[in-house]
Subunit: 277 residues, 4 copies
């Protein structure tokens, strides 16, 4: 979710005005546009959801269909206008939000040929992220960035952890297959791995459960392991969050360092005494 | 749960005496009143619970009803007395506890017209919070405030996290609907979202579970994600609690160390004698 | 689990010898006694477990019974000897381990009159805690004390948290009763509270699950709440453990202070420079 | 997963060349060998999994069998070559990876006599750990070591915790057996202990669930306990991870502050220039 590269509006006045309305939220019209867009996105995803409900679809099929067509055409027009009004077209198209904007309309045209793809329209929800950003819900965005950053900087450790976990589940699942092999739910190793993951993550659907005493003993061991192992990702992210905590909040007036802990009295990069203490 | 605004008792002596009994717990009578009130609240919620059990209700219907009427009338009288004896009536009525006191009696009168609303009487339990406060269970209240404070100061991050989680579940649910669409439990997108939330939060009822191999693979991925994602709220709250602890802590005037225990007389990092002891 | 008060052995030589064997583990015989005791305890609990299995009980009923009688008589003899050989009899009888020792034999005699109480013999397992202590598994005991201490010092916050959680579950359960009232599993408020606890703690048996759309929506909200709320006890205990961490490891050579953080360079009580840094 | 002891290659040139290819990854051929090995391992485990699926096995039985024979023979040849080319044969054979390499081929030969042991071939997955190491995925290995180290140094506390938990579950299970004894799922104490572990770890299959009101009350208490207890392993591992992070960190020579970020040039508490930069 990198920031958009600076899109310099073109010289034509109406393009410049449209650009401000569509891309920015610093005018009354621009703000209104964003708010209506947010409502439209929510409404659109709601329609997609309701369409999937057999009962509602049979009753309101043509209503849903026409709303969908109208919204999709509107989003298409909006996407085209975004491309027209922006100067650095290529940067926009391949930016994070440019791709999201495209993904919000493609499924509609695709569904004309392959009906099932219609439900990908739900990806429109991701457009909400843009609107939040534009509406200057700054504190909320900061918290959002904070969570994403903490996850990013701990992601490699989380991947390694998940890899260990998967290897562990594969081995435990195979073991369980040998133990409970002929009982329902453990008919094959992939099935047993499915059970192992359901158990170790403490989800515990219960659609597959051990029936032999030995299988139950193994389950108990696996559950206890899962109960202890859950501490690992928690420990990783907690340690990382403690590190990331205050990064956005303080700034050194001399060197501009913003990576300042909340208990710091001197800037760690230039040694300047921090005023706000 | 802000502290009550200072309610200056009126000049009439009996009002002043009643005020001390009802609102304060610094006299023997005031304490007794609070203790009996606590018992009455607990007893009242128990009656509401038992009334909902068909078997007990058919047997003791009139007993339950009469107890309920008596307690409700008592609470009404108490509420009226509270308003009479207090000077700053408006402040009380719109305070947190004033609203709770009102909510504890409204459902009774409402249930005379709409029977089902009777069960809202369970909200009386919230009155327990007042009694705890009045009985000067100070340490307990402090711990309670500590938890609420830590949750409050991390609430915005938690909201953002839950928003991300909901968007994630909506997208995963829709994907699963396309994969398992014609199997029981995945008949519509809302249903599939329900399944996604049940899975990602590791609740795992098992009333909806995937049946196709591809669906099971997706489930496994979602479970592993949920197992890792649970680290996020934990990390947020833990960091916030650590912070809240630090706010109450001290600082060394020589080296600026803030990691000082309550019983420390010398700074542990530079050996300086601490002034504030 | 306080340490036993110093039991001065009586002057009779055989009593003194027996005392060392039974209560201490610093002689070869004393150590052997403790090891055999540990094995006997484990064996005894295993027998109780197997007795409860219908299939095994019908086959080996008399074998189990005779083993149980022998072990119970041995434990009784041991308990009597403990009382005889120790000087401060009263302190032993009412100490933590004295009560455990008694609880290990009472159910046997009680079961002669009320058969079901036989299964309380499982409480014998708690005797294992004594043997661990006596066998000088010091590091393990320290870790055990560490966990208990951290839990103890955060217990008040945990209680408050659980109280909040119970009030929350009662209110949510009542709400759900009004929404799903006539569906199986939600027949009464206590039943619905049971469901609320099963859901919020992410256990999710699935024996009770919502069936109406509104009920499912409420469930989803409750699950998300539970997923976030689990961060609270974790945060409390983590903060407490960080505090308790190194208490047993360092000591100030001047004032004997043992409450020294691992990053301390000076003693916080007397300001002495710590040697081990 | 200790590092392999230094294996000095023998003087014969072809042995030296083979040694570099098989054991090291610093030549183009050595790297290729490792990559193909990784693919072969993954492919081999996939075959074992698919063999366990009845439907696939009946169709492709002979294909699976021949692939398995070829891969197993290749792994055997590789294992023999490893022993031949290495000088310190004994150290290799009894090293962590030496045992893994052996475990990857034994089940094949064993399955000629006892067919079910074939599925132990899944242990081949563990060989992936070696390949990761050799391919110099250094950052990933470091993170892996970090997780393993943090788990190792907190393992004793985790064991103690699990021991407490098991004793707790045995006692709660026995209690529940007395309460729900004649209801399905609670027929014996071991069964009830299985239920207790399923509940306290928040797995909650639902294959065993209480039916009596008293049983449900006990369950609710157990769930709340489990919800709070999960904080213990999390707290242990988080504290340990924080510690492991600190070990790699720096110290200010003036004020003794140890909370120094990797990119700090000045101490954040006293403003001192840090020497080690």
């Amino acid at each position: 979710m990198e920031r958009e590269h600076n899109f310099i509006p073109q010289s034509t006045p109406w393009k410049r005005r449209l650009f401000r309305i569509i891309f920015k939220a610093d005018t009354r019209l621009g703000k209104l546009f964003d708010i209506y867009l947010l409502i439209l996105i929510l409404f659109s995803t709601l329609i997609v959801m309701m369409e999937s409900v057999q009962l509602l679809d049979t009753k309101f099929h043509y209503l849903f269909l026409s709303i969908e067509v109208i919204i999709s055409l509107f989003f298409t027009a909006e996407y085209i206008l975004r491309i027209i009004t922006i100067k650095n077209k290529k940067a926009y198209i391949f930016s994070f939000f440019g791709i999201i904007d495209l993904l919000a309309i493609i499924p509609f045209y695709l569904s004309l040929f392959i009906p099932i793809t219609k439900y990908f329209l739900i990806l429109r929800m991701l457009r909400m992220l843009r609107v939040f950003r534009i509406l200057n819900l700054l504190d909320f965005m900061n918290d959002g960035y904070f969570i994403i950053k903490a996850l990013k900087s701990s992601s490699r450790k989380i991947y390694i952890f998940l890899l260990f976990l998967v290897i562990f589940c594969v081995i435990v699942g195979s073991l369980m297959f040998m133990v409970e092999g002929h009982h329902p739910g453990f008919e094959s190793i992939p099935q047993s791995i499915y059970w192992a993951v359901v158990t170790v993550t403490t989800v515990g659907y219960g659609d597959v459960a051990p029936t032999t005493p030995l299988g139950k003993l193994l389950s108990v061991l696996l559950m206890l392991a899962g109960y202890a192992i859950i501490a690992v990702p928690t420990g990783i992210v907690t340690a990382e969050m403690r590190n990331k905590r205050q990064e956005l909040e303080l700034i050194c007036t001399r060197c501009g360092n913003t990576d300042i802990d909340d208990d710091a009295r001197y800037c760690k990069t230039c040694g300047e005494k921090l005023q706000n203490h």
